[in-house]
């Protein structure tokens, strides 16, 4: 089972780098949807026996992260009539290299952590740290509101991965609560995206700096 889990995690890491390296928003949304789907399946892989509750969480995660949220983002994209992130604050290649460096840092850092034995084998901890860092990089370097949402989603995926460690201990309610938060957050941001577009005739969040006193 561990090798399957590890290969899925490597997949997640590769998708991270893809999200960093692509300028086409549509592709990035699809990548994040795929990442969400992988994450949704992962509890079933981690769990040795499949309980109905775990299956429910899994299903809900896949539904939300792989279908509902990407659909909403796609719609926002269509309405705002933009296709690509043209002016990231640092270039695509440098941000990819940064992402790789962050992944390396996460590996080194996780190797020094005093983890429980059952967690040292899998790549779970380094992958989750790397994903969080990549989410941060996306949030910091991208300026379009949609890209910000994507960065936020990647960041949340990293936290979700970390929660996988506690999958035995974490009650169902917490999982569902986190998912609901995510959904509401993205929902609200999608509405705001529309408003930003209408107010500034652009999705550049740097324009929001005009709002400061």
């Amino acid at each position: 089972m561990t090798s399957l889990l590890d290969s899925m995690l490597v997949m997640v890491l590769v998708l991270n780098l893809f999200a960093l390296g692509s300028s086409r928003l549509r592709a990035v949304i699809q990548v994040v949807a795929l990442q969400g789907a992988l994450l949704g399946v992962m509890p079933l892989v981690v769990h040795q026996h499949i309980s109905p509750a775990a299956a429910g969480v899994s299903l809900a995660t896949v539904l939300l992260k792989a279908i509902v949220i990407p659909t909403m983002l796609m719609r926002a994209l269509r309405e705002a009539q933009i296709k690509r992130e043209v002016e990231p604050l640092i270039g695509l290649l440098p941000s990819m290299i940064l992402g790789a460096a962050a992944t390396g840092f996460a590996m080194v850092f996780a190797s020094g952590l005093p983890l429980a034995d059952e967690h040292t084998a899998a790549l779970l901890v380094p992958a989750s740290l790397a994903t969080v860092l990549v989410g941060f990089i996306l949030l910091i370097t991208r300026t379009k509101a949609i890209s910000q949402v994507i960065g936020y989603l990647v960041l949340e995926n990293g936290i979700f991965l970390f929660g996988m460690l506690l999958v035995e201990a974490m009650p169902l309610v917490v999982e569902m609560g986190v998912l609901l938060d995510l959904f509401v957050g993205v929902f609200v941001i999608c509405i705001i995206v529309n408003h930003i577009n209408r107010a500034f005739a652009s999705l550049d969040t740097r324009r929001l700096a005009e709002l400061k006193e």
Binding site: F136, L139, T205, E210
Partner: protein
């Protein structure tokens, strides 16, 4: 709950509600103001009644954190007296008809201010005290900022707010320490073994800063001149007469709770008092603004009060009950006296401002003929504040003199030179005060009017005159019959320092009977002198030539001696202290162009230290403003950097390196 405490609590409630009916009355009408005044007067009658019972010697038991004793009652009397007189005065000085917008607000906060002070005076529990204290502090901010459409008023009010919050901060620490020592917030005397000298000194210093900021002891007085000058005059009278005394009350009360004070406390208080008295009167001489000048005299008088308190603490530290009694009696009596004569002076100054519309001393002149009553009341207040017989200021200063001179007779204590040298310092303060008030009275009420504003000046309205007359009468009464006040004073002193002798001791220490006789005789002589000179004046009418009328063809009233030129001698002696901004014109050629001369003395603490310091800090902190760009991305970057830094800090770097280098 006893009857006297109930009376005081009722008075506080009435005062607190006094502004409420006005909120429901129509704005232009005068019924709201009438109702407020009557409620405040009623509250004052009840409150002074309750206080009188307590001053007669009744101490009530603590009831829900409040109680009444002679010390509380001593301070309650000026709160209610000046509160009521200020309200009556305000009927004509700040009528609703001419101040439709801020009049209602002023009266609402006036009532709350009285109520807050009443509450803190009867509080025997730290939290109740702080509730009263903060009610007072915040409502005072609103009454100072009554005319908040003016920028100077706003900046003075902000300076006050900063000062009062600083004070409250140290009071919070003080009560926390008190609770640490006693285990409860109740204000009760500590015993010697409950707290070490370190803790006690920390509490003393916190009390000195917290209450000193409110009282306006010299380096902490920075809010006081601006706030007093820019508030409406009856508010200035209330602030100066009563509000700053709450700081004195706090100090007296807390010092009464702390056991066995060391000599250093007394020395510190005495030194602060001398610095405050001298500094206050010196800066007063340099002022051109009538109310600002009076405000600096408040700093001076607080200094005299604190000198008395310092003497009392020295007496407790060295075991001299006579110093304690004379010091405390002088301190407490001067609290009353200062609220009487400073209230009187501010109300008279208010009448001048009301009549002429300016506070600039050098713009006034010759008002004595147009406003004889106001001039007479101002003169009464001036004589009293200078500590001259036969008025009340002389009595309290005499008590402090007696105490200070007694320290010189016991040379065994290590501090006697300092204590004994304070007496000449106090004498110098008195002399400088005389110079200052000669300057003010001469420039404002005598001579000829310097500007047209003096020509339409009118005498104060009857209710304004009435309020001033009551205060002047009390000044005269205490001066002529200090023996009547002595028993009440002894009661208050006994409450302020438990464990020292009372009653007969004070009368035996101070010659009240002689004082009455001398003051009475002086007053009679004064009366005869005035009568004779009036008669002479009538027989030989005064010729009125122009100023400097000796060959100059076109004299004007502006070439009279101004207040600044009168004070120039003293200002030049103390020029190193004042560091005046002088705008001196350069006069060249045979026919020089028109030019102006102006000088201004900035405040030593606020304008010379605090504001430059604040500007430097602001400039320094301004570099951080670059971090706040309003860009979400950069904020996220800060978070990332912080998270990474924390991760790296927790990383077992040694372990990792060891693993890499193991062979």
């Amino acid at each position: 709950m006893t009857f006297s405490l109930a009376l005081v609590v009722g008075a506080i409630a009435l005062a607190g509600c006094s502004g409420l009916p006005g909120l429901f009355c129509p704005r232009p009408g005068r019924w709201g103001q009438k109702a407020a005044t009557w409620l405040v007067v009623l509250a004052a009658v009840a409150g002074i009644g309750g206080a009188a019972v307590a001053l007669a010697g009744e101490t009530t038991a603590t009831w829900h954190g409040i109680a009444l004793d002679a010390l509380s009652a001593w301070f309650l009397v000026p709160v209610f007296l000046l509160g009521a007189l200020g309200s009556v005065y305000g009927e004509s000085y700040w009528p609703q008809a001419s101040h439709p917008v801020n009049g209602r607000r002023l009266r609402l906060f006036w009532g709350w201010l009285m109520a807050g002070m009443g509450l803190l005076l009867i509080a025997r529990h730290g939290v109740v005290f702080l509730v009263g204290w903060e009610t007072m502090a915040l409502t005072a901010f609103f009454v100072i900022a009554t005319e908040d459409e003016q920028a100077t008023v706003r900046s003075s009010a902000w300076a006050y707010l900063v000062a009062t919050h600083l004070g409250t901060l140290s009071l919070f620490s003080l009560f926390a320490l008190l609770r640490k020592a006693t285990g409860s917030f109740a204000l009760r005397p500590l015993t010697v073994d409950e707290a070490g000298i370190g803790l006690l000194t920390a509490m003393f210093l916190l009390a000195l800063v917290g209450f000193g900021l409110k009282a306006g002891i010299m380096p902490l007085h920075f809010w006081l001149p601006g706030a007093h000058a820019n508030a409406p005059s009856h508010v200035s009278a209330f602030l100066s007469g009563v509000l700053i005394k709450m700081g004195v009350y706090g100090l007296v009360r807390i010092l009464g709770l702390l056991p066995a004070p060391p000599v250093a406390w007394g020395v510190l208080l005495l030194a602060a008092g001398v610095a405050s008295a001298l500094g206050g009167v010196l800066f007063a001489i340099a002022q051109h603004d009538l109310k600002r000048l009076l405000a600096y005299h408040s700093v001076e008088n607080i200094g005299i009060i604190v000198m008395g308190l310092g003497l009392a603490v020295l007496g407790r530290a060295t075991g001299h009950p006579d110093w304690v009694l004379l010091g405390l009696a002088g301190c407490l009596l001067h609290v009353w006296n200062h609220s009487l004569f400073k209230g009187l002076l501010f109300l008279a100054a208010g009448a001048v401002v009301h009549a002429t519309g300016t506070r600039e001393i050098d713009a006034l002149g010759g008002l004595g003929r147009r406003m004889p009553w106001t001039a007479a009341f101002f003169a009464t207040g001036a004589v009293a504040i200078c500590g001259l017989p036969p008025l009340n200021g002389f009595v309290s200063e005499l008590l402090i003199y007696l105490g200070l001179l007694r320290t010189a007779t016991v040379p065994a204590t290590p501090v006697w030179p300092l204590a004994a040298l304070s007496a000449p310092a106090l004498a110098m303060v008195g002399a400088l005060a005389v110079a200052c008030f000669v300057k003010v009275f001469g420039a404002v009420f005598l001579g000829l009017g310097r500007t047209p504003v003096t020509e339409q000046a009118h005498e104060a309205a009857p209710d304004m005159r009435g309020a001033m007359a009551v205060l002047a009468a009390f000044c005269l009464l205490i001066g002529l019959a200090p023996g009547w006040i002595a028993p009440l004073l002894s009661q208050a002193c006994a409450c302020a320092s438990p464990g020292t002798q009372t009653g007969t001791a004070l009368a035996s220490l101070a010659p009240f009977a002689w004082l009455s006789a001398a003051n009475g005789a002086l007053l009679i002589l004064l009366g005869i002198g005035v009568a004779v000179s009036l008669r002479l004046l009538r027989r030989h009418p005064v010729r009125r030539p122009g100023t400097w009328d000796c060959g100059y063809a076109q004299p004007t009233a502006r070439i009279q001696y101004t207040a600044s030129s009168f004070a120039q001698f003293l200002s030049s002696i103390f020029g190193w202290l004042f560091r005046a901004h002088v705008d001196r014109p350069r006069v060249t050629g045979a026919f020089p162009a028109a030019s102006r001369f102006a000088s201004h003395v900035p405040d030593l603490v606020l304008d010379r230290c605090l504001l430059p310091m604040a500007r430097t800090v602001e400039r320094w902190l301004g570099t951080f403003r670059r971090l706040q760009q309003g860009l979400a991305q950069s904020y996220l970057l800060y978070i990332l950097v912080a998270v990474l830094a924390m991760l790296v800090c927790t990383m077992p770097l040694g372990e990792i390196i060891k693993r890499w280098f193991c062979r």
